[in-house]
């Protein structure tokens, strides 16, 4: 890798970081729920970029497809369709902010300390194509977790349907 590409690579990485963390801050601190929802889009994209830097191609795709394409769109629908949501002032209020900031800073410092001082169990080298092995694992060693996840989704679906049906009937 030449110095230039290396520099570009780093620049891109930090840009991605700024994007992710910055938009996440907007999600958290904005008092307007619509603005929060849209910022979440950027956060998700930023995370997808992060996976890209880790050479996890499958995760990039799923992140974009599921979170950006699926969950976020659903979320936006919910926000936009909810009646007069922009008028609800209490939707995103914060309280105990000083205390929360203190706690968050403390946790952040601890995590930084932990993250930098630890020799992580890193697998070196490029990963290569990952979709196929993941697919095989999900149908092999990780079949049970895969199926259990299906059960969780089923339960969540039925539960959500019950609660929603109830709301409509009223």
């Amino acid at each position: 890798m030449t110095t230039l590409t290396s520099a570009l690579y780093h620049a891109a990485f930090y840009a991605d970081m700024v994007l992710t963390v910055g938009s996440a801050c907007v999600v958290a601190f904005s008092k307007n729920i619509v603005r929060s929802a849209f910022s979440l889009l950027l956060t998700f994209v930023g995370v997808a970029g992060l996976y890209g830097f880790l050479e996890a191609d499958f995760l990039v795709a799923t992140q974009l497809l599921i979170y950006v394409g699926g969950i976020l769109v659903l979320l936006l629908f919910a926000v936009m369709l909810t009646h007069r949501i922009s008028n609800i002032k209490a939707s995103n209020e914060t309280s105990f902010s000083a205390l929360a900031a203190l706690a968050a800073t403390g946790i952040f410092l601890v995590l930084v300390e932990v993250g930098t001082k630890t020799h992580w169990d890193v697998k070196g080298g490029p990963l290569g194509e990952s979709t196929r092995p993941i697919g095989l694992l999900l149908m092999g060693d990780y079949l049970l977790p895969f199926e259990v996840a299906a059960m969780i989704l089923l339960a969540a679906l039925i539960g959500a349907a019950y609660l929603a049906r109830n709301a409509i009937r009223k």
Binding site: V114, D141, Y142, L144, I152, L154, A155, Y162
Partner: protein, 511 residues
């Protein structure tokens, strides 16, 4: 067929109790949507059948395990790429969960607030949650533990809010969901830290990774942080301090049968997972079934013993001021999480055995108490202590049964709860943790104050002048109370069989 696939199919045979639960779930869903006229509670009875059938296969597994020479590690069968263990420990817990599921169903039969239109969903969610409990106690990897926990949690969120038109129920669901989401998020973060360190999700592999280090790669801080974070998830399930805040509101708002379910099922499963995780990942094992923390700097037993004392003290002191029976039982269940944690910090087979024993008795005591709440609501229309006043003279049998459950929860002989506490304290004193034992027994004394308040309301207050006007008690309640109280009394005077069973089931933790 590839070898992996073949192995998976073979494993499926040892997974029949769970498979039956899944099939029952699907059957209930299908029947629920078919436009056939179903009699009242038909789906609930179908659920019973599923649970019982699952129980039969579970019993077969248990017999097989015993016959296969079943001591210690030889009876450990690992399924699905080592992610699930089929051992006596798991089977014991699964038996408890089936009991919990059945009893929850029994409590639901006459629970009036339950929306009849939602019966199908109710059964499905209950079955899914039970399946989650199964997976939790069997899990041998962080991944399975997490998935099992979620499979318990997500249906419980909905079940807690099942009374659609009750504000309290909605609030319960929301609180439970938010707390649950945060707790499992924190837990996931902790798990990822541990994974980053050990390079594996498998409990045993984590231990090997930590043991194999000549020089400690991980700072003790990292281990402590990840352990505390993981504990947040498990602690949320067992409702121990400081992860107990959701408990009173959720217990109060949820439908009573679900409250009973939450107070026993997830709590027991949480203990199952905690025991497995701390034993298999964070301990070194010496002979005689004793264990010690794997890293000297990581004294998690001390953390747990402090949590234990804090939990029982907070639970007991807060319970004293309650007026709602369900809230009172919520704090009582917090306090019991504290007592049970004593069994964990003992770090020996004796402690685990005591936990297993106590949980079995606890199922009956708690369900007895919650059956009384259902009964009270059904016949008197109240869920407060106030509603019990003088009831002992109008409906003696249910009230006596409730009193037995409460005194057993206090830990008075000759009731099962006393024997359970006896073994817990035996373990604690055996480890020379005198301060813990003394705080524990003092807490038991304090707990009498609030349990006795209920008894006082039932029998000592509002005593009728002449003959009391008797309250007609449906046969259902008499039978259900008899079924729940009989084991409490029996285990108080003859408990050797349960000891044998619990000893055997804890044998995986070193002979």
């Amino acid at each position: 067929m590839s070898p992996t696939a073949l192995a998976l199919v073979q494993d499926l045979r040892l997974f029949l109790p769970e498979v039956i639960l899944v099939l029952t779930t699907l059957l209930v869903i299908v029947l629920d949507v078919t436009p056939v006229r179903k009699s009242h509670r038909a789906l609930l009875y179908l659920t019973f059948c599923g649970l019982l059938l699952s129980g039969i296969y579970l019993l077969r597994h248990y017999v097989d395990l015993r016959e296969s020479g079943g001591r210690a590690s030889s009876s450990n069968v690992l399924l699905f790429g080592n992610s699930i263990a089929l051992d006596p420990f798991a089977v014991y817990f699964k038996g408890l969960f089936l009991l919990v599921g059945l009893l929850t169903g029994v409590l639901s039969i006459r629970y009036k607030k339950l929306n009849p239109a939602g019966e199908g969903e109710y059964c499905v969610l209950l079955l899914c949650s039970t399946l989650g409990l199964f997976l939790m106690v069997g899990s041998r990897t962080l991944l399975m533990a997490y998935l099992g926990l979620e499979l318990v949690s997500i249906p419980s969120f909905v079940l807690a809010g099942f009374q659609r038109d009750s504000r309290l129920s909605n609030e319960a669901a929301l609180k439970y969901t938010i707390y649950g989401a945060i707790a499992s998020g924190i837990m996931l973060y902790g798990m990822s830290l541990l994974f980053g360190l050990a390079g594996s999700l498998d409990f045993a592999a984590i231990r090997h990774a930590l043991e194999g280090q000549t020089e400690l790669r991980a700072s003790p801080l990292l281990l402590s942080v990840s352990m505390l974070m993981i504990l947040a998830g498990f602690g949320y399930k067992i409702a121990c301090v400081p992860f107990h805040m959701w408990c009173p509101d959720v217990y109060e708002g949820a439908p009573t049968p679900i409250t009973a379910f939450l107070s026993v099922g997830p709590k027991a499963a949480g203990f199952g997972v905690i025991l497995r995780f701390f034993y298999q990942s964070l301990s070194t094992h010496s002979g005689g079934g004793d264990w010690t923390p794997i890293v000297d700097q990581l004294q998690w037993p001390i953390v747990l013993s402090v949590l234990s004392v804090a939990t029982m003290t907070v639970g007991n002191l807060a319970a004293v001021a309650q007026t709602s029976l369900k809230r009172l039982m919520a704090y009582s269940s917090i306090a019991h999480a504290g007592y049970l944690l004593m069994g964990v910090v003992v770090l020996s087979k004796d402690g685990i055995f005591a936990i297993l024993f106590y949980l079995a008795v606890y199922v009956f005591m708690n369900f007895g108490a919650f059956l009384f709440v259902v009964f009270l609501h059904d016949l008197v229309g109240s869920e407060d202590i106030e509603g019990c006043r003088g009831l002992g003279w109008r409906a003696p049998f249910p009230c006596i049964a409730m009193a037995i459950c409460l005194f057993s929860l206090t830990g008075l002989p000759p009731l099962g709860g006393f024997i359970g506490k006896f073994y817990l304290f035996l373990g604690v004193i055996g480890r020379e943790l005198y301060w813990l034992a003394i705080l524990g027994v003092l807490n038991s004394v304090v707990s009498l104050v609030y349990y006795a308040r209920v008894v006082k309301a039932m029998f000592l207050e509002n005593i009728p002048r002449g003959e009391a006007e008797p309250l007609p008690v449906p046969f259902f309640y008499s039978a259900a109370f008899a079924v729940l109280v009989a084991p409490i009394l029996l285990l108080g005077v003859y408990w050797a069989p349960l000891v044998k069973l619990a000893r055997y089931s804890s044998s995986i933790f070193g002979a």
